[in-house]
Every structure is written in structure tokens, then in C-alpha cells.
């Protein structure tokens, strides 16, 4: 899937702790430009902390993080022009309209996308003058995706893109992720749904207790789990619990 052979994100020996609790412990991974890379693991495995270090929102206690060769914490302005993010549990002011939000965020980036085209693409044109509070859950999610894309990023991080969405909206999200890759955008997808990772991702890193326990193509992981494991879901259970079958 790598078109140019460039590395979009390289994390080496990352460590991060909060007080006594170790969130990420010697984690390394590499995301190639142009691929959809999944970070998969149970709740509290350190997925969000890992991507927050990649987004420059957290300073690692150890190890290095490079986004297209840039340190996202030290050179945050440069890095943040290249990375679009959709964060878990991040909202907008109740009374801001869809158009206002997207125009505001567009003004944060020197090279921003066409906001009209983005609204059309995400099916928000009819909701352009609607206030945030009046949007449905799926519409709010689509708006947060629009804000992640408005800066024309080379890498997009989706943290729990489809959590809480109905099946139709989930499929819509998956379609969008594939289209982004077709446009040459690298996608980092944080999820705890194995079916989502299996369906979408070119490669997956399975994270547990702040470490990568397995990394590879979804079909490789399924084989590695055991020949009898038919889905990635089964393989994950086998790989993370050491359950023999």
C-alpha cells in the first residue's frame, strides 16, 4: 500500500506514565505513508495516549515520535499543519453553527481545504446553519471529521471514529476512510472493534498494557493467532490472553 515509501509516523521506544500508572511502555511502531493503519486493543491499553503523543498533545517521558520526520511536540506548529485529528469526547460550543465551525477551523491552516466541498462530501450542506447542539450524534461526528480534514492533512488520526454510531453511519465512516486513502492521505485509526480493523486496515498494531503485542496485516494476525481462528476478533483474544486453542 505504500506509494512513496515515505514514513508518515515513526514511534520508537515510547514511554509515558501518569503518576504511578504506566500508560505506554516501550512502544514502537511505524506507519507508512498512504496506508490505513489500525491501533487496536482493549480499553486502557494505551491507544489514546500513544496517538496523543503523535498529535503533540502529550510529551513523551521517553523514546521518540516523528511525524513526517518532525517532532510533534517540539515543532508543533509545523507538525499540526500535517496532522488532522478527530478526538474522543471532544465537542464544540452549543451555539456555533456548522458553517461557522468549519470556517473558523479553516482559518487555522495556511493551506486549507475547500470548506464547501468538504460540507458536501460529509453530507452536512443542509445542516450548514444548524447549531451544534441541534445536530444528531452522527452529524456531530461527521462535523468532527470535517474539522479533522479541513487543514488538508497528510495524516489523519481517528480516535474511535465509529463508536456510538448506528450501522449505516459506521459504513459511511468506513467508506470515507477508504476514500481518504485513495486520495493519498495516511489514516491512523484507533479502535477497539476488530471487525472494523479487519475490514479497513492495511496493517494493524495490537496494543496491550502499553506495548505492541502483535503487528502486521489483519490476515497475518489471524494466522498467527491460530489456524482455527476465523476472524481477527478471535485472533486478538488468542494473542492478548495467550489462550491456547
Amino acid at each position: 500500500m505504500t506509494r512513496t515509501g515515505a514514513i508518515a509516523l515513526e514511534i520508537s521506544n515510547l514511554r509515558k506514565r501518569y503518576g504511578q500508572k504506566v500508560a505506554v511502555d516501550d512502544l514502537s511502531l511505524r506507519v507508512n505513508e498512504g496506508e490505513i493503519f489500525g491501533i487496536l486493543g482493549p480499553n486502557g491499553a494505551g491507544k489514546t495516549t500513544t496517538v496523543e503523543c503523535a498529535e503533540g498533545l502529550r510529551h513523551p517521558d521517553g523514546g521518540t515520535v516523528r511525524v513526517f520526520g518532525i517532532d510533534p511536540y517540539r515543532d508543533r506548529t509545523e507538525a499540526r499543519q500535517l496532522v488532522g485529528v478527530q478526538l474522543q469526547e471532544s465537542q464544540l460550543p452549543d451555539k456555533i453553527t456548522v458553517t461557522e465551525a468549519i470556517s473558523l477551523y479553516a482559518s487555522f491552516y495556511p493551506r486549507h481545504a475547500d470548506t464547501e466541498a468538504l460540507l458536501t462530501r460529509l453530507g452536512l450542506t443542509e445542516k450548514r446553519d444548524t447549531r451544534y447542539r441541534k445536530l444528531s450524534g452522527g452529524q456531530k461526528q461527521r462535523l468532527s471529521i470535517a474539522l479533522a480534514l479541513v487543514g488538508s492533512p497528510r495524516l489523519v488520526v481517528f480516535d474511535e471514529l465509529t463508536t456510538g454510531l448506528d450501522p449505516a453511519a459506521r459504513r459511511e465512516g468506513w467508506r470515507l476512510v477508504k476514500e481518504l486513502r485513495d486520495d493519498g492521505v495516511t489514516v491512523l485509526l484507533v479502535t477497539h472493534y476488530a471487525d472494523e480493523a479487519e475490514r479497513l486496515c492495511d496493517r494493524v498494531a495490537l496494543i496491550q498494557s502499553g506495548r505492541v503485542v502483535a503487528c502486521g496485516r489483519p490476515d497475518e494476525l489471524i494466522d498467527r493467532g491460530s489456524a482455527s481462528h476465523a476472524t481477527l476478533d478471535d485472533a486478538i483474544v488468542a494473542l492478548t490472553t495467550g489462550e491456547a486453542s
Binding site: E78, S90, R111, A113, L149, S152
Partner: protein, 265 residues
């Protein structure tokens, strides 16, 4: 299907950084202004209420009153109502809005953009300060045109007192936003602090009618010092150095604490 991005990104030049930073700040200020205007309650409370109260005072005002130190009722209340406006926007506007932005992940989201949430904080301060100035002008104009309270005869001193009062109250608002985890708590704490501060400003009992001990205690509070400084400069005197120093001291103390305690998430 519209492609969102197909061409490789390039690094923007420095001038582009600066331009986009300026336009981002302008957009933040205009968006925050729109959001403030859509909240009808703070505007009623912070702008309409003081002007209505001033007009009522004006209706009952019968010239200079010895018990008010020779000032009319309406002239006594004008600086009190200016302090009221400033405090309303700082304690019940800025503080809960910022705490709510943090609570809802808005500050964190902005920190993931090239602009950063610090600009939003500056935009909030700018908007609150501007609304306060406009409301103050409104109070001064209504007092002058409607009830014969002349405009400040020591304008430089008045502006200095106004700026220091705003600075002290906005940094107190920032401190509340630093300590409170939610918008609701920030709003409640803001109101709890607002009431005693307004007492010493003389909202219920003007300073001139307070006992000497109470007035001395009040002089050391932010709004007690603020109202004295505003009152003196309105009457043509330079505000007392100690009053201005007290306001500056509160600004520094609250500001430093807020700076150290403020969290983006």
C-alpha cells in the same frame, strides 16, 4: 466526489504563518462575539440590568445628598454599576465559558491545531473586555444625558482605574476557571464570590454610608478599591495610589495563580 487533498503539502513560509495566525485570531474573536451575543442572559444581566438600575436610581435621585458625601444617588451608583458590569462578565461570563470549553474538550481540540488554545483564551479576554467597555460607555452616556452625572473629569485616571479593575476581575475569572472542573461549578463559584465583592463595592449599602471599619475593610477588597478609584476620577481627582496598587496587586496575584493552575484538559 471531491478530493480533499491530492497534492503533497509544502511548508508554508513564515509570512503565511503570521497571516494565518492573525486571521485565526480575528476569526476567534468574531466567533466568540457571536457566541456571546447568542447567550441572552449574560447580556441582560451585564449590560441591560445596570443601565435599567441606573435609570431607576436617576428617577429617585434628588440632587446632592449629605449622607452620600455630597453626591447624588445616581452619581454614587454609577461607578458601582460599572464595577457590576465588569464583574458580571469576568466572573459569570469568562469563568464558566472557559471551564466549559475545557470540560467539553474544546481547548484540547484547539491544541491539536496549529493555532493552539492560548489564542482562544486571548480572544475570550478581548471579547469580555470589549463588551465591558461598551457597557461602561453606555452607563456613562445614560448617566450624563439622562441624569446630569457629568462624564469623568479626570479621564486618564478613570481609564487607568477602569483598566486595572478589568484586569483584576478578569484574572480572578481565569483563576476560577483554573480551579473549577465544570462550567456549572465555575458559574456557582463565580456567583458566590461576586456577591460579597459587590457588597464591598457598595451595591446594597453605598460606601459613604458604611461604618468606618467596614469601609476600611472594603478598601482592601478588589471592588471596594475599584469603586473608590472610579468615583474619585469621575469627580476630577486622581485615584489614590494605594487603591490602584491594590488593584494591580490583585491582578498579579490572581494572574500568577491562574497561570500556574490553569489546565487545558
Amino acid at each position: 466526489m471531491t478530493a480533499i487533498t491530492t497534492e503533497p503539502a509544502r511548508m508554508p513560509r513564515d509570512s503565511e504563518h503570521r497571516d494565518s495566525g492573525r486571521s485565526a485570531f480575528r476569526n476567534l474573536v468574531s466567533t466568540e462575539t457571536k457566541l456571546l451575543v447568542r447567550e441572552i442572559v449574560p447580556l441582560l444581566w451585564g449590560v441591560a440590568f445596570p443601565i435599567v438600575l441606573l435609570s431607576i436610581m436617576g428617577g429617585f435621585s434628588h440632587g446632592p445628598d449629605k449622607s452620600l458625601g455630597g453626591l447624588s444617588l445616581v452619581a454614587t451608583y454609577e461607578p458601582i454599576l460599572i464595577a457590576f458590569t465588569i464583574s458580571t462578565f469576568a466572573l459569570q461570563g469568562l469563568a464558566p465559558v472557559l471551564a466549559g470549553y475545557r470540560e467539553r474538550g474544546i481547548l484540547r481540540r484547539l491544541n491539536a491545531t496549529p493555532v493552539g488554545a492560548g489564542r482562544l483564551l486571548l480572544a475570550q479576554l478581548t471579547v469580555n473586555m470589549s463588551v465591558t467597555l461598551i457597557a461602561t460607555l453606555g452607563i456613562l452616556i445614560v448617566g450624563d444625558a439622562g441624569f446630569g452625572v457629568s462624564l469623568p473629569t479626570q479621564p486618564a485616571g478613570f481609564i487607568l482605574a477602569l483598566v486595572l479593575t478589568s484586569a483584576a476581575m478578569l484574572s480572578l475569572g481565569l483563576l476560577i476557571a483554573s480551579l473549577a472542573r465544570t462550567a456549572r461549578v465555575a458559574g456557582a463559584v463565580g456567583t458566590m464570590i461576586f456577591l460579597p465583592l459587590m457588597f464591598f463595592a457598595g451595591l446594597w449599602v453605598p460606601q459613604a454610608t458604611m461604618s468606618a471599619a467596614l469601609r476600611r475593610a472594603g478598601d482592601d477588597t478588589p471592588l471596594g478599591a475599584a469603586v473608590s478609584a472610579l468615583q474619585h476620577s469621575m469627580a476630577g481627582q486622581w485615584p489614590s495610589a494605594s487603591g490602584l496598587a491594590i488593584l494591580a496587586g490583585y491582578t498579579v496575584a490572581f494572574g500568577v495563580l491562574a497561570w500556574r493552575l490553569f489546565r487545558w484538559e
